[in-house]
């Protein structure tokens, strides 16, 4: 068995213009392919895992990302100095920045991603919407600003289909907004909305769009090479969100049938081809209760949640990004893409779900990542690591695979139980509640899931857990007393630098 040509390493050396778990993820793919890696880091990240894992590492400035990870000039300088042949941007930071893609072309370095033109086309909401309409991809139907005296109001609403949403053009925060479910309500609702808009924003312009009830966030992974081939690799459902940030993702969606998958897969490929897309990308849709789909946007980069697609398709998306960037054609057709089983991802974040998902940065005093069958942890931290204040507080992405959705959930619940991160408050307890919540188990998901089930983000006392806590604290207290009695005074150092102090200000709430 000699090396298959597709596995010839596409580059000798790649620079990863990112940090955290995604930099580690890309480094892992590179090392598996025998590619040498160059990390960049800000002053806050000298001790980060991506710096430890990479072959080379270069400082690019102070902690604020505007002075480091967003500095195209510094990154290009490191790329040239280290002899990197390609730059992988990860997600966030410069990953959807056409200027970096252009700078790469000028420097003769390959940017791992689509063309600057594709990024610009999809980056502008209006341009993207128009391109999709032209390509035959459905968008949320809507109107331009409405004339309240127009006679065709009802016709337009019927064209869009009830329920419709009236929205203030200048609006925000629900002001000047009305859901209209029936024809007869339309005229009075428009008057109310316009009145409210005038009172709130001094502008009574209102427009109408389709109201999508209990929408699901469903997105399609696409992968296109530079030879005209574009595949869709199943969908992901990412409906569990807070403030429009995804918390839990899965592949496949519990509601998407094979026929529906083929339909939205074709739409996603159409969307990608409309902008001559190359590389891995994601087309995001809103899915209505009735199975209707509406294009939201296309992310022209790797997504945070790409692992669930990898687990179910068996394809390594980062390796394929690198191969496609090097001009290697895809080695399979759409018919060769098969989905096996089910995968779920929980984002493990240093934040407190019971306090409005407030970030809780700090130092990890002890870490045990779960493992065993069907468990993958894509992390970027270690015991002793301080989660810095300057960036996204995501610690890792915990992914489980099961032969079906139920087993994936069971494994996620088990893996979350095994996960131990001491010294920080994390989203683990939130995820545990979700995995055991009947609506989640039933797959009854929509983007308002957390608002519908507020018990998931409430702190609760549990007498049994309190009992255990008293026993444990009593044991520790007793041992300390014993030690104090036998140790010299100068050695009483335990408890210094403890996370306890962080609670000092809040004190006892009850």
């Amino acid at each position: 068995m000699s090396a298959h040509p597709k596995f010839k390493k596409p580059f000798d050396k790649v620079l990863i213009a990112n940090r955290g778990e995604i930099a580690v993820r890309v480094i892992r793919a590179c090392h598996e392919m025998g590619i040498r890696t160059v990390a960049v880091y800000s002053d806050a990240d000298r001790e980060a895992l991506h710096v430890r894992f990479a072959h080379q590492a270069f400082n690019i400035g102070p902690p604020p990302s505007t002075e480091s990870y967003l500095r195209i000039d510094k990154i290009m300088e490191v790329a040239k100095q280290s002899g990197a042949q390609a730059i992988h941007p990860g997600y966030g930071f410069l990953s959807e920045n056409g200027d970096l893609a252009r700078a790469c072309i000028e420097a003769g370095i390959k940017f791992v991603g689509p063309s600057a033109e594709a990024m610009y086309a999809m980056g502008d909401k209006v341009r993207a919407r128009n391109a999709m309409i032209e390509a035959g991809v459905p968008v949320v139907p809507g109107t331009p600003p409405l004339d309240p005296d127009a006679t065709d109001l009802v016709d337009r609403a019927n064209e869009i289909g009830f329920p419709v949403l009236l929205k203030a053009s200048a609006g925000g925060g629900g002001k000047g907004m009305r859901i209209v479910r029936e024809e007869k309500e339309l005229v009075s609702a428009l008057a109310q909305a316009a009145g409210e808009a005038r009172a709130s924003f001094g502008d009574d312009t209102v427009f109408m769009e389709k109201f999508v009830e209990r929408p699901r966030h469903i997105e399609v992974q696409v992968l296109a090479d530079g030879h005209g081939n574009c595949l869709y690799l199943g969908e992901r459902e990412c409906s569990i969100q807070r403030r429009h940030q995804k918390l839990i993702e899965e592949c496949p969606s519990p509601v998407v049938t094979p026929e529906e998958r083929a339909k939205i897969g074709d739409l996603a490929v159409k969307a990608a081809k409309a902008v001559d897309y190359e590389g891995a990308g994601t087309v995001e849709f809103l899915r209505g209760n009735d199975g209707s789909y509406y294009f939201m946007e296309m992310n022209t980069r790797l997504q945070v949640e790409h692992p669930v697609t990898e687990e179910v398709t068996g394809m390594d998306l980062v390796k394929w990004q690198l191969r496609v960037a090097a001009g290697v054609p895809l080695d399979r057709t759409q018919d060769d893409v098969e989905l096996h089983g089910h995968a779920i991802e929980c984002r493990i974040i240093a934040e407190d779900a019971t306090r409005n998902f407030m970030p809780c940065p700090g130092t990890i005093r002890g870490l045990r990542t779960p493992s065993g069958p069907g468990v993958r942890d894509d992390g970027g931290v270690y015991s002793g690591y301080t989660v810095p204040l300057h960036y996204d507080p995501m610690i890792s992405k915990l992914v489980t695979w099961g032969s079906d959705r139920e087993q994936a959930i069971e494994r996620m619940a088990r893996a979350l139980d095994e996960y131990r991160i001491d010294g920080l408050t994390t989203s683990i307890s939130f995820h545990k509640k979700v995995m055991r919540h009947q609506a989640f188990i039933d797959g009854d998901l929509h983007t308002g899931f957390l608002e519908e089930h507020p018990e998931l983000v409430k702190a609760g006392d549990n007498e049994w857990l309190q009992q255990i806590a008293v026993v444990a604290a009593a044991v520790d207290h007793f041992r300390r007393q014993e030690q104090l009695a036998t140790r010299p005074r100068g050695d009483r150092r335990r408890g210094a630098g403890s996370a306890w102090k962080r609670y000092g200000g809040k004190g006892w709430r009850r």
Binding site: G366, R420, A469, V471, A472, H477, Q481, R509
Partner: protein, 163 residues
């Protein structure tokens, strides 16, 4: 060791003694045989009457933060004598409000001398691009305010005092 423990809104009488390598922990008269081993970091493996628990315990003085899985409980011990004295004094010393994280003060919602209720918002600190409201841990009067909008604060910085 005999002591009172507070957890959540509950109080319990606790005593601990040694018995042949085990610890006997009695909570409100119920005896538990505990085989506790301190392992890596703050982790303990405890067998309580044969049931296995993994917990981590961070202690500071009489205050303990206990983590069991992802659950967190705070336990405070007081010796009965001290508690009695505290009760006689009203149990209501001043509360120092410290910053929970490094960040920047964006709004101060109260002034010196204001009466505040438990849970009332005192000020708003921005950290990691998010605004976080800091609430009063107890009812009282604002004795002093130590920051103003724009102040950059470190972890544990003194923000204000309620009395």
């Amino acid at each position: 060791m005999k002591i009172s423990a507070q957890v959540g809104d509950k109080l319990a009488e606790v005593s601990v003694s040694r018995d042949d390598g085990l610890l006997i922990v009695t909570i409100d008269g119920v005896e538990h045989r505990v085989d506790a081993r301190k392992l890596e970091g703050d982790f303990y493996s405890m067998l309580v009457d044969g049931t296995s628990y993994e917990v981590s315990v961070e202690g500071n003085g009489d205050k303990y933060l206990v983590r069991h899985g992802a659950d967190e409980q705070k336990v405070t011990f007081t010796d009965p004598g001290r508690q009695a004295r505290a009760a006689a004094g009203g149990g209501a010393g001043p509360a120092e409000i410290l910053s929970v994280m490094p960040g920047k003060v964006v709004r101060v919602l109260v002034n010196e001398g204001d009466a505040v209720e438990e849970g009332q918002g005192l000020l708003v600190v921005e950290a990691m691009k998010m605004e976080n409201e800091i609430e009063a841990p107890k009812a009282g009067t604002v004795k002093s305010v130590h920051v103003e909008p724009g102040t950059t604060v470190d972890n544990d910085a003194l923000l204000l005092v309620i009395e």
